[in-house]
């Protein structure tokens, strides 16, 4: 199979390989023309002023194809260990390579699997949701994703169905691989589910591109726990649009951990779209070398009596750089809003840098919104104290960094996730002078 480029010829050939409903093809064509009409963002764009993508060249990559299965044996998931799963999907270089789904759940009307095949099979469930309310086609990366997505996953839980067993999604890349995966979760009213998603690279040196999106549609009174571990190798470009729309009296717990990638630019939005909706966003970032991770988050209160909580913590090593720009937005009718936003950064080296920019945009008059951010180094007195109790300097560091993240671990109710993150963090802490 020849490699298709991201040009008109490549796109047309790509379309001809897809047997998809017409509305999907129309969506792709529409997005493709938008992709062509737009330039790449530059540092003159406000969202990108701290994020330099001049070294990113799309033409170094090509469209995902099903014959890129190298490196598959080097991939091992972290989040699913010891978990009784309701189903799992593994995509490699943007193509589904393995999937499973518990029969019993299928009987109850739950749908789960690779979006590639389900978009045709369940066109009726997707034609009014896919790439709509929970997706903003704002920039060229979003347009690229919307026109060329492949692989992906779809989870649908019908009204009132509670799924106890978590679902697991693994997306992996090998050298030169491209992942344009799209994850869409739809919980109907009163449904509940847990999804554990993670990414991995075959080797730390493998170059790759992820330009993806997550859509979470949480119906009235529904309850979704979503865990997202971004663990790409450090030569992967990561561009992602992630958005949740949360219904009346519904609850979303969204935990993100980001350890990987060369450069990340993530837009993570939660829209509280019905009265009494609640969201909790937790984030753990741990960066090293020259990694650059940029998060633009929004808690958007559209209706009254909603609650949103946001806590992101980052530890930075070496010359790494994180950007967090957060916004609590409250519409005029969203009275009795309770919004909370906090970002703490721990600088483990002199050359690391954390930009932390909280923001509020409030149009209602009866609200309670608080925000805060801290950025600091590890307190030498803490290290000394632990050393006086027999900890080596490195053990003390690991202890302090783990403690720094503990507040988030305390919020994670899934053992396998807590264990995997704890281990990944402890492994990463190095010797510091």
């Amino acid at each position: 199979m020849t490699q298709l480029g991201f040009d008109t010829e490549g796109f047309q050939s790509f379309l001809s390989t897809r047997q998809e409903p017409e509305w999907v093809t129309a969506q792709r064509n529409d997005a493709w023309s938008q992709f062509n009409d737009q330039p790449w963002p530059t540092r003159r764009d406000e969202e990108w002023m701290r994020t330099d993508i001049r070294l990113f060249k799309l033409d170094k990559f090509s469209m995902p194809s099903s014959d890129q299965v190298d490196g598959l044996d080097q991939i091992s998931p972290l989040l699913s260990a010891g978990v009784d799963l309701g189903g799992s999907v593994h995509s490699h270089n943007g193509v589904c390579v393995a999937e499973s789904f518990v029969d019993d759940l299928k009987q109850q009307g739950v749908v789960f699997g690779s979006l590639d095949s389900l978009v045709t099979e369940h066109s009726d469930l997707l034609d009014s949701t896919l790439l709509q309310a929970a997706f903003d086609r704002e920039d060229r990366f979003a347009a690229l994703h919307a026109s060329c997505w492949t692989g992906g996953q779809f989870l649908f839980v019908p009204r009132g169905v509670h799924v106890e067993q978590p679902f697991h999604v693994l997306s992996s890349l090998s050298d030169g691989g491209v992942d344009l995966g799209h994850t869409i979760v739809v919980l109907e009213d009163g449904a509940s589910a847990t999804l554990l998603a993670e990414t991995a690279s075959s080797t730390e040196e493998a170059e790759g591109l992820h330009c993806g999106a997550i859509e979470l549609i949480v119906g009235d009174r529904a309850n979704l726990r979503y865990v997202n571990l971004q663990n790409w190798g450090q030569r992967v470009w990561h561009f992602a649009r992630q958005k949740a729309v949360v219904g009346r009296d519904a609850h979303l717990q969204w935990t993100s951990a980001a350890m990987g990638s060369r450069l990340s630019k993530v837009n993570q939005h939660v829209v509280l779209n019905g009265e009494g909706a609640q969201s909790q966003m937790n984030g753990v970032l741990f960066t090293e070398n020259k990694q650059h991770l940029s998060y633009h988050t929004q808690q958007y209160h559209k209706k009254a009596n909603c609650y949103s909580d946001f806590l992101y913590k980052a530890a930075l090593q070496d010359k790494s750089h994180t950007v967090w720009r957060g916004m609590i937005k409250v519409d005029e009718e969203a009275q009795q809003t309770d919004g909370y936003q906090r970002n703490d950064n721990l600088l483990l080296s002199n050359s690391s840098r954390a930009d932390s920019i909280p923001g509020l945009e409030i149009e209602a008059d009866d609200v309670r919104c608080t925000h805060g951010s801290t950025t600091g180094k590890v307190d030498e007195e803490m290290i000394y104290y632990a050393q006086c109790r027999g900890f080596t300097r490195k053990e003390a560091m690991r202890l302090i960094v783990t403690g720094f993240f503990q507040q988030i671990f305390d919020r994670i109710t899934i053992d396998s996730v807590r264990d995997a993150l704890g281990l990944a963090i402890a492994r990463r802490v190095r010797d510091y002078e």
């Binding site: 027999g390 080596t392 403690g403």
Partner: protein, 267 residues
């Protein structure tokens, strides 16, 4: 063999400023020494220098434990060699549970050769021992689940330090103002705890400018520090005298040290 902590002609500077100007002190296992003196005389500096605080620069002299040079060791190596200090103001380590901290710490101190990543002492044994010690100290077990010194009251911090002393069973312990900030009952409890741990099982250096702790733990030796020197040494009667009359006699008797003390305190 009787363990000996030996300090000879110790000189210590902080940010280039001399604080200790030649301290000699020898503590044998089983002995209790009181270190008294007015504020700013250098008492806590001695404690920090013995433990190896990076900001306290030793500019001369030696500290040895059973002939081993402590000054060559990192603070954690000193702890593993059997040194302990109960901090006057211990720092909080948010997110780290007291029990986890102590289990790791106890493991390292009891197995000085332990390599990073090797097993910790078994959870069951550790829990049992911790529970015993906490009961002795009349501490609620809930305490073990709290984060190290995080949000502790002054009294809780001091008790947590004594709990660590009880668990780590060092050869030598420095108690830096362990009685300050405690009410009379808490001091009595702390003193009894130290007595329970067994004064005879370690060498104690009690840094204080009151004598509350000393009433329950009468020292065999009392040293008075002024201007970064030990200007007088006596028995427990010296501690009583200083408690009753203050430092006026000392200040008058050692004008040179007093002048240095004033200069240090003035900075």
């Amino acid at each position: 063999m009787t363990h000996v902590l030996k300090i000879e002609n110790l000189q210590v500077a902080v940010e280039g400023k001399p604080i200790l100007r030649g301290v000699d002190l020898e503590i044998k296992h089983g002995e209790t020494h009181a270190l008294m003196g007015p504020n700013g005389s250098g008492k806590s500096t001695l404690g920090q220098a013995i433990m190896g605080h990076p900001k306290y620069e030793v500019t001369g002299g030696t500290i040895t434990l059973d002939g081993e040079d402590l000054l060559e060791m990192e603070p954690d190596e000193r702890a593993r060699a059997g040194m302990f200090m109960a901090f006057q103001r211990p720092v909080a380590i948010p997110g780290v549970k007291m029990a986890d901290f102590l289990r790791h710490s106890t493991t390292n101190v009891r197995n000085p050769e332990r390599k990073e990543g090797e097993d910790l002492i078994p959870m069951k044994d550790f829990r049992r021992e911790l529970k015993d010690k906490m009961q002795q100290l009349q501490m609620d077990m809930e305490f073990a689940r709290r984060y190290v010194n995080d949000g502790f009251s002054g009294g809780e911090m001091k008790r947590a330090e004594i709990l660590q002393l009880a668990m780590l069973q060092p050869k030598f312990a420095i108690l830096d103002e362990t009685d300050s900030g405690l009410d009379a009952d808490a001091v009595r409890l702390a003193s009894e705890s130290i007595a329970d741990i067994g004064r005879e099982k370690m060498g104690l250096l009690i840094i204080t400018h009151h004598d509350k702790l000393l009433v329950h733990n009468p020292p065999e030796f009392t040293h008075v520090m002024l201007g970064g020197r030990l200007v007088e040494t006596g028995g427990s009667e010296l501690a009583e005298e200083l408690h009753a009359n203050g430092y006026e006699r000392i200040r008058a008797a050692y004008p040179e040290a007093e002048a240095e003390n004033l200069a240090m305190a003035g900075e």
